[in-house]
Symmetry: C2
Subunit: 409 residues, 2 copies
């Protein structure tokens, strides 16, 4: 977690040469609130993305998938909040196309090179006229250092904007990576009401970028859970502008491939944790480490069973070391032939359960201060293999109900 | 729902000849609270049961499974609340055996003919001495009409006791069925922190009773969800005392088999709905009907995806007809090749979504009174088959958090 705090300022944000960002208020839902963002990419940029697994995916997701799969260059991305443009049928696709078309006209580019993104209320049509009116202002405000404004412009019920940025060297060449994300509700395995845009000035081929986006996603955004709901609009886009022309990453064997992949993954992990920390109503950040499993899938299954249990999450909210609920959630995971008498559990460094029972010397007061902390680490050993996974989640509080019962009112 | 109301008195309760019940306070968790119940069965009784699918099943569940599978007669059942005797290892098994042994001594029967049941906090040992001291009082209070006391004695966070009872005739022979249940939290597919005991004075062979217990369970207790958590202690026991010696139900072809099976299922449905209605913090009862599916499993998958979604449940709590959340939850279900453009949704009798979009003439004010009701029916058609399933659930309120954050304090 280190410096991840909701109140945090961003720390240093590195601009990414070859990419500019601009934001405005198009009054989509509320006047004066930033709700429309445009990203402009240089002509050497490569782009890769992963999207929601929800069968009911939004119009912009359908259009993004089509346009990315055609393989041509991407010139711009346009993002609105307030309305998700999901459950809007053929009309919704037309709306998204019209917005892309108008932006393409303003930029004098091929409309197929514009990618649309939306987040917000589902099953309402986009206020297309408002969005079209806002586009020129998004172009007027374009800046390489426009990340802060843009990161505010993509939020919905999030409390704080989320940016992660770093700069490092490969063979004496300076490389930067900067990303922004929104999350908050509907956060769970296989992506979330989550939009993430991560960019680097490195030169990375489409094929390598595609490999990296999946690698990073599996280890970061797909390891978080706020409420177990999966959204219609989740999108994680990875952009490599190539402005820093060396090194050229064209295959997994290219010098620098592993370094870039791992730094991108680290930026994504940082953003993923910030999403959890800013989960709807979250008061605590919880890391569930599951180890000694027969497979990574098994470790993830157990981790998500624990992290998605409302009973576990309310116990964490109450700082209650309710071991029974954790055990019960482990037992509810679909794991074949699980021998519960081999399970050990730690809260922080304290062994609380040994061989499936309360540990012999465990006293609840030993973990009380740990449970009252705003960061809790739970480690679970299934004692039946060598694989592991880590899931990040938050507690379930009164405010989650308040936020979600009143979202549209 | 008809007469199902939390405040309801039981209506007429029919005693079951051949079965008596007694309850007492053993001060397991709180003084003066009924928390220990004993059922005594006549020597012609047959018994069948289904139990939790949780890998981490409680000591009494393990013992019940063993003792039922041995096939001998069952003389008594002993139930305590307050402590679940789960996650207690070999010591927990010993505790349960000791309690059964003591009861068997008092009754002068084989200890293997006594079945134990527990519900309450997990990973704490039973206060065995307190329970042993309470047993004689449970025997002193035995009554054929002891259902009301017993139904109070098995509760934990439930607000009201739950009984369902009926009497009918088969070929001029009077038959009664009476059942009691507890539920409240951890209610989800594959049973719950749920104990249910249903008895009839009919004569039913072990084999037939085993078939009926599974049939009824699949259509009732396995169709409810409060919070998506599965517990360690779920047990549903079906008893046929045989006191009403005709008809003799010895095979699925026996006259009366279908009638008895369906009446038992109906009692279970009544109890299952009462459990949902008394779910932790529940303010509304919600029926999710999923139809036109390729299989029943598919219909159940969609029904549970909707009924387990915290976002859907908080919207119901707020009387908010948030169609997007319902659609998103349908889309999140694991259904292969789902064509969302074929999905229709009704709230009550109002068509709210047609072909995957908001229905053309839908106005939110048409469903507002329906959403504000304390019983809501949502019907979902996938438009791809002939199979259906119905799931019963409740909303997610502030009180769920309050109850579960403060459970042990």
């Amino acid at each position: 977690m280190s410096s991840v705090q909701p109140e945090d300022k961003f720390g240093r944000v590195f601009g990414i040469d070859g990419l500019t960002l601009g934001a405005t208020s198009a009054a989509i839902r509320k006047k004066g609130r930033l709700d429309l963002v445009v990203l402009l990419l240089n002509n050497t940029a490569t782009v890769a993305g992963v999207f929601t697994q929800n069968n009911f995916c939004a119009a912009p997701v359908q259009l993004c998938r089509q346009r990315l799969s055609r393989g041509g260059p991407i010139s711009a991305m346009v993002i609105n909040t307030g309305v998700a443009n999901a459950g809007t049928g053929a009309g919704g696709i037309e709306d998204a196309k019209n917005i892309c078309y108008e932006l393409a006209q303003l930029l004098q580019v091929n409309p197929d090179s514009v990618l649309p993104f939306s987040t917000g209320v589902i099953m309402e049509r986009l206020p297309v006229e408002k969005i079209l009116s806002g586009l020129p202002k998004c172009l007027d405000t374009q800046l390489v250092m426009g990340w802060e404004e843009a990161s505010r412009g993509i939020l919905t019920t999030d409390l704080v904007p989320k940016i992660s940025s770093r700069n490092f060297q490969i063979d004496g060449q300076s490389i930067s990576i900067t990303g922004m994300a929104k999350g908050s509700g509907m956060i769970k395995p296989n992506m979330a009401t989550m939009l993430a845009f991560v960019a680097t000035d490195a030169h990375v081929s489409n094929k390598c970028l595609d490999e990296i986006v999946r690698y990073a996603n599996d280890r970061t955004f797909n390891c978080i859970s706020v409420d177990g709901d999966t959204s219609t609009n989740d999108s994680f886009m990875l952009i490599a502008t190539g402005a820093s022309s060396d090194p050229k990453i064209t295959s997994a064997d290219s010098p620098g491939f592993v370094k870039i992949r791992d730094e991108i993954t680290s930026v994504c992990e940082d953003l993923a944790k910030k999403i959890v920390l800013d989960g709807e109503g979250a008061t605590k950040f919880i890391e569930i480490r599951v180890k000694d499993c027969q497979s990574t899938a098994e470790a993830r299954e157990v981790g998500f069973s624990v992290s998605n249990s409302p009973l576990v999450k309310t116990a964490f909210y109450a700082s209650d070391a309710n071991l029974g609920r954790i055990m019960s959630a482990i037992g509810a995971a679909h794991v074949i032939n699980l021998d519960v008498s081999k399970i050990d559990i730690w809260i922080g460094d304290v062994l609380v359960a040994k061989d499936g029972e309360v540990a012999p010397n465990y006293r609840e007061r030993d973990v009380k201060p740990l449970m009252e902390s705003d960061e809790i680490v739970v480690t679970i050993s299934l004692g039946r293999g060598r694989n592991a996974a880590t899931i990040w989640t938050c507690d379930l509080s009164h405010d989650y109900i308040k936020i979600n019962a009143e979202y549209r009112s």
